[in-house]
């Protein structure tokens, strides 16, 4: 059965627009009273289109608005379109689509795009739980907001189907036959006599007729592209050095900028002496900027070298001066009613249960963590009296546009943001202060394009890290079962920080990310309570791959593992017994099956640990096997089972799953961002090692499809990775490690 796509079925409809020499297909929006406030620029009844497909004589362009930072978003969006449009997406030009002057109203760019890519799911998920955020603000930011796959799954295929039928109709009218007699194949409409007309030749006619919107989506059994192992479309470019990232761009007359900003993030400059820098070869200018100093030179290296030669005296940082002082503030709020942020889970009677018998107690701790994607933050900006052009890899192009408009005094539609492929993000590119720093410099260099590139040191010391966090756990067991589970988590609010930076607004009310990944787990424990306590804003923090669940996955699952151990139950069997959500239970059962689970012990010095986390709607279970060798722990094998509802690209799904596990374990092993004298101490990869190939385990991954809803997979394998490792280390060594990074307490090979 296909899905009938009629105009009222969803909140969007697919339409066409004439463009110079061709036609665009995309989401068609009509302004109606009290709808999307971001369509305010449109008059009632006026329409605008967000194009996904553009066809003109030169060929087919696919506009894939969700940003690609490595997770394969461009590829999957293109394949969704191609599944219905019948052509080879490898022959199309694929672009993130900003900006195209001729055919769409800038207001429409707002539709669903403020948070591109799978992060949408992260934010949407968070947003749903972020109860007190004014509804108006949320709806404004979250329009169309779910992840690339869940959202585009329907929309992109609809665009392809509407385009196909409209092109067929154009051919039908041209040759005088009925549309039902036509088929499509390989970028052509096929006539009854076998003759073929290329889509590109039909574009102008298609633009002049009513689009055919009463279309059927093909059932998954007929899919040619989706659901099968595929080659990512960006793979050849990425394997031949020909992919251009933001950092690689060159435009005529471009100069290079280096910055040195206060390592006390957010604080300013007392004074600086740039006299020796100014005399250095290639240096054109030294500019005082908001939190630091910028050097303009004719080459990146010269700009950096000159920046290093500037003698700067900084203002004092705006938060406690070192990590101990920061964690002392966090420690203070836990279990203190006045700092209670929310208690989203409170089953049974925890207080009474904890007064009786043998109460287990433990404290867990996770560090601040930088994102540190391989491509450091960068932006190329040109500001003139009438225009501001920005080339950068970003997940929030519309915030970039609006903020740059405010800074330059230009109208929003005079700011053009060209989204570039990203050399990773992990959440850092949900921030834009680095882009605005480049805008600030470009304003001072009016008319000249400025490419600002952060050095690795600048990048890692001016990140907005994942918040450090402390959790106190308590619990009881009886008759071999977990009876009471009580977790109190304290940390600063990343949502308040992040929304504050993006919107300038203080957001009242709770921040559920403090306990996301803990309060929302599908277990039925008789007395079950999770409470979030909010520490003050200190080091400014942000979303880090898997957001709240990145720390809570560790807290929740480690405490659960300890209680199960105390109860004398089997770690997997007791989790399965406690699980009250069928899709999640099946994931746990499956991971037991593929890992050949027969208890945590695997003989002398070997052990396995299981962990589970439901995040972003995806139940994920991991079994990790380790060996305790003379030289330290080796991670031997990792089995992961997820349930994503429907698998669109099994090859890429597997890569995202093991990539997430490597990411989770890498940081669990040996990464932390600590502060001394207000500055992040780990300023390059020598001090933020992560995982290397020789430490990488073997992987086995299974994706189940029992869930009703299709889900994105960029993040869910991160949260259970660290606890599965910690639990496995316990099985192999008898040592419980309650603090990350784990190498503070045990060596890794």
């Amino acid at each position: 059965m296909g899905i009938v796509g009629t105009v009222t079925r969803r909140t969007f409809l697919i339409g066409t627009a004439a463009i110079a020499g061709g036609v665009a297909f995309g989401t068609y929006l009509v302004k109606r009273p009290i709808e999307n406030p971001l369509l305010a620029d449109l008059k009632d009844g006026e329409a605008a289109i967000t194009p996904y497909i553009k066809i003109d004589a030169s060929g087919i362009t696919l506009i894939t608005p969700r940003a690609d930072k490595g997770q394969g978003a461009y590829s999957i969006q293109a394949r969704l379109i191609a599944e219905e449009l019948d052509f080879d997406p490898a022959t199309a030009v694929i672009t993130p689509g900003m900006p195209g002057p001729a055919y769409y109203n800038s207001a429409v760019l707002e539709e669903g795009v403020p948070f591109p890519a799978y992060d949408d799911s992260a934010i949407a998920e968070t947003a749903r739980q972020f109860m007190s955020v004014p509804a108006k603000l949320m709806s404004m930011q979250m329009t169309g907001g779910s992840s690339t796959v869940p959202d585009g799954h329907h929309k992109m295929r609809m665009a392809g189907a509407v385009a196909r039928e409209t092109l067929k109709e154009a051919a039908a009218q041209q040759v005088g036959v009925d549309r039902s007699q036509l088929t499509t194949e390989d970028g052509h409409v096929v006539l009854p006599d076998g003759k073929r007309i290329a889509y590109t030749e039909l574009a102008t006619t298609a633009a002049s007729i009513e689009p055919i919107t009463d279309v059927q989506l093909r059932p998954s059994s007929e899919w040619k592209h989706l659901g099968k192992p595929t080659q990512r479309l960006d793979m050849p470019a990425k394997c031949t050095g020909t992919e251009k990232y933001g950092i690689d761009l060159v435009v005529d007359g471009m100069v290079h900028a280096a910055v040195r900003a206060n390592p006390g993030v957010g604080a300013g400059v007392k004074s600086f002496d740039a006299s020796s820098a100014e005399a250095m070869r290639g240096v054109q200018k030294v500019i005082a900027i908001k939190n630091g100093v910028a050097v303009i030179a004719d080459n990146t290296w010269r700009a950096w070298r000159a920046a290093d030669a500037i003698d700067i005296t900084w203002e004092q940082g705006p938060y406690p001066e070192n990590t101990d002082a920061i964690f002392a503030e966090i420690e203070k709020v836990i279990d203190q009613d006045e700092f209670r942020d929310h208690r989203n889970r409170n089953d049974g009677d925890v207080d009474t249960a904890l007064t009786a018998g043998d109460v287990f107690e433990a404290t867990y701790k996770v560090p601040y963590l930088a994102h540190a994607p391989m491509e450091p933050m960068n932006a190329l900006v040109r500001v003139t009296d009438t225009e501001c052009e920005i080339w950068t890899g970003t997940q929030i192009p519309l915030f970039v546009r609006d903020h740059a408009a405010a800074m330059t005094g230009l109208d929003k539609d005079q700011v053009l943001v060209y989204v570039q492929p990203m050399g990773g993000s992990f959440g850092h590119k949900l921030e834009d202060t680095h882009v605005l720093q480049a805008v600030e410099i470009a304003i001072a260099m009016k008319g000249t394009p400025v490419k600002m590139v952060w050095s690795r040191e600048e990048d890692m010391t001016h990140d907005y890290p994942r918040p450090g966090s402390i959790a106190k756990g308590r619990g009881t067991v009886s008759n071999g079962q977990v009876e009471t589970f009580d977790l109190s988590v304290g940390q600063s609010s990343l949502m308040a920080d992040w929304f504050g930076r993006l919107t300038g607004l203080a957001i009242p009310g709770p921040d559920a990310t403090i306990t996301t990944g803990s309060w929302d787990q599908p277990f039925a424990i008789p007395n079950y309570r999770v409470t979030g306590y909010r520490a003050p804003t200190m080091v400014p923090v942000s979303s880090w791959r898997s957001v709240g669940a990145s720390g809570n996955g560790f807290f929740h699952d480690c405490l659960l593992d300890e209680l199960i151990h105390k109860a004398g139950a089997d770690p997997l069997a007791e989790r399965i017994r406690l699980c009250m959500h069928e899709d999640s239970r099946k994931v746990l059962e499956k991971v037991g099956e593929i890992s050949g689970w027969d208890g945590p012990s695997m003989g002398e010095n070997r052990g396995r640990g299981v962990a589970f986390c439901l995040s972003f709607g995806v139940p994920t279970a991991i079994v990790t096997e380790v060996t305790n060798t003379e030289a330290g722990i080796t991670i031997d094998k990792v089995y992961t089972v997820v349930d994503v509802g429907e698998v669109l690209d099994p090859t890429n799904l597997e890569a995202q799953v093991f990539g997430g596990v490597v990411f989770g374990m890498a940081h669990a092993m040996n990464c932390e961002t600590t502060y001394e004298n207000y500055a992040a101490q780990q300023n390059n990869y020598h001090a933020y090692e992560g995982m290397r190939l020789y430490q990488t385990p073997e992987f086995e991954t299974v994706a189940l499809t029992n869930a009703k809803k299709i889900r994105g997979i960029g993040e869910p394998s991160v949260p259970p990775a660290a606890p599965s490792l910690a639990n496995a280390i316990f099985a192999a060594t008898g040592k419980r490690i309650r603090e990350m990074p784990l190498n503070k307490h045990i060596d890794f090979v």
């Binding site: 050849p236 394997c239 950092i247 080459n299 093991f658």
Partner: protein, 153 residues
């Protein structure tokens, strides 16, 4: 001074201490080699100098002499892939891709000197290149596949 990159001679007029990476990227517009750390930790900037792997962020251009530089652009192209690149595509290694030109240059040189590597040797040699996206499992299989293909000739 004159430098030889991908079989072409270039005249560059720069400070002798400028790292080769920045000569390539900013002076010659050859952007396949990437900047990741600048301190020999990540390998994103890896190129070949007379066939040997070199971290181009660490090599002052003065020390190049008349040795020949090959970047990923000179290894193969989308139309004429090197065996390592073909294996990388077949195994769908890249995620963000930013580290991959370095990974591929590392693997290509390694397989030239050691055409039949053991798993341990692959792990050891490829461990000098960092990948923040965690593509390691596929790097492992792609190196093995490339070794096999190169041996079959």
């Amino acid at each position: 001074m004159q430098i030889d990159v991908n079989g072409k001679a270039f005249e560059v007029e720069v400070e002798p201490e400028m790292p080769l990476l920045w000569v390539l990227r900013d002076e010659l517009g050859i952007t396949g080699p990437k900047y990741g750390c600048g301190i020999a930790q990540c390998g994103a900037c890896t190129v070949h100098v007379d066939g040997f792997v070199v971290r181009s962020c660490q090599l002052a251009v003065r020390d190049l002499g008349n040795r020949k530089v090959t970047t990923i652009e000179g290894l193969g192209s989308p139309e004429a892939l090197h065996a390592v690149q073909a294996a990388w595509i077949e195994h769908q290694v890249a995620q963000c891709g930013y580290c991959q030109s370095g990974q591929i240059m590392q693997a290509a040189s390694f397989l030239k000197t050691n055409p039949n590597p053991s798993d341990e040797q692959i792990d050891a040699v490829m461990s000098s290149n960092l990948c923040r996206c965690g593509t390691y499992p596929r790097i492992r299989s792609a190196v093995k596949a490339a070794a096999k293909k190169l041996q079959e000739g």
